[in-house]
Amino acid sequence: MAEQYKSLHPIKYYRDYLAHGIRPDGREFNKFRPILLNVGSIDTADGSAIAKVGNTTVVCGIKAELCKPKPDAPKCGFLVPNLELPPLCSPKFRPGPPSDQAQVLTQLIADIIENSKCIDLNDLCIFQDKLVWCLFVDFVCLDFDGSVVDACIVSLLGALKTAKLPFVEYDPALDNIQVNMEERKHIKVHSTPVSTTFAVFDDKVILKDPTQEEENLCSGILTVVFKDDELCCVHKPGGSPLTQEELSQCIEESKERTLFIKRLIDTAV
């Protein structure tokens, strides 16, 4: 009976649960789903990690390539994130060129990386004006079940902190590049951004770490990213309006989670 009720009146079904202070999956409003992080999962990548937030699964792989820097920034390397949402992860997506949502999330992740300054692009320089590293950070979502950005950022940190770049010797006189694959060193990661997603249901109830079902039914989404004690992204792309107090409370709550995730990443790495 509950099954039919849920598929016929999904919003009412949720309202009935939320009126009792609990969500259909048994969590309270401010409880997170368990997080899992596995690092170094892919041998062929220079750095990789798999993150699971509840059912949401994201694989992150880092591939490094050598390239020439832009003339206007001769010391800056490149970091190119890309999120793929294949049809495998959710019936919402069709095969073909990246969907709007994939592009929006890719841009959001790129913004978070840039704002948190977790990678200094100057560190990727091998020889000024001639040779820099270009890091391709590819995310593949295997299971799209809400709070994908959270999972992406956890997997990103896992992959960045385990990534090792080969030692490169560059001879500017002969324009000769020698790559020593045996001798590898870590990339310097300057900060640990931690993202937390909230969903606003019916303009009043704020749910932490929403599932895909909740994200679809709710009227607004908010993503807060903390880096140590500083905020580096408060992204709310429209949706039902929040008061300043509600927003501050969300920020406060996401701060509490930062330490926990940071410890998780440090343990895994």
């Binding site: 004690d229 709310k236 008061t243």
Partner: protein, 207 residues
């Protein structure tokens, strides 16, 4: 219609295009955009919603094709419009919002959002509330201000969108890093800025 200018450094003209149902050209400082609205119009079968109008937003940069960053702006503007419209009045239709960037010297997102709101008002679309966007900058001395001298380096940038009824935050987009206190201060400052913008909207509509 006359061009109305104000202390907020905005100037705007409504109904400049003849084909769209509503249009507005808006400049904030040296940033200028044109917004046009069609709606409610026929909807593509793929995007048809049986209980409400579907809102689409297209953003065109001043040169070239829209990129990944422009998709993010599109999604923000679309979400804001969806929230503010009484979309259930026109089920099985579409409302199209098109934004053309003419010149960009900072605060482009807020300029585009404000132009979209004025174009919606010009088109006579039923709205729950008006919305206005304010860009707030923070320099390296941690001072906050609403007008940016272009070309100056800033430590952080905030864009807030408020509704006209209760001045709640509809959307927020940030760049750079900052503390929670600075964020709250920026919200306060932007809230004052948005009041000016709503009075300006009224002035434009009355003129």
């Amino acid at each position: 219609m006359e061009t109305v200018t104000d202390k907020t450094n905005i100037s705007c003209k409504l109904g400049i295009l003849s084909r769209p149902d509503g249009s507005a050209i808006l400049s904030e400082g040296n940033t200028t955009v044109i917004a046009g609205i069609y709606g409610p119009v026929e909807v593509k079968l793929q995007k048809l919603l049986i209980d409400k109008a579907s809102v689409e937003c297209h953003y065109r940069p001043k040169s070239g094709l829209p990129g990944v960053e422009d998709r993010l702006y599109e999604s923000i503007i679309r979400n804001i419009c969806e929230t503010s419209f009484y979309a259930s009045l026109h089920p099985r239709t579409a409302i199209l919002v098109t934004i053309q960037e003419l010149q960009n010297s900072g605060q482009l997102i807020s300029c585009a959002i404000n132009a979209a709101c004025l174009a919606c008002l010009n088109a006579g679309i039923d709205m729950k509330f008006m919305f206005s966007a304010v860009t707030c900058y923070m320099n390296f001395e941690d001072d906050l201000y609403l007008h940016c001298a272009s070309g100056k380096e800033t430590k952080a940038m905030f864009v807030f969108v408020f509704d006209s009824t209760e001045k709640r935050i509809i959307a927020s987009h940030t760049k750079g890093s900052f503390t929670k206190e600075q964020f709250e201060e920026a919200v306060e400052l932007s809230k004052e800025g948005c009041e000016d913008r709503f009075t300006y909207y009224k002035k434009v509509l009355e003129s």
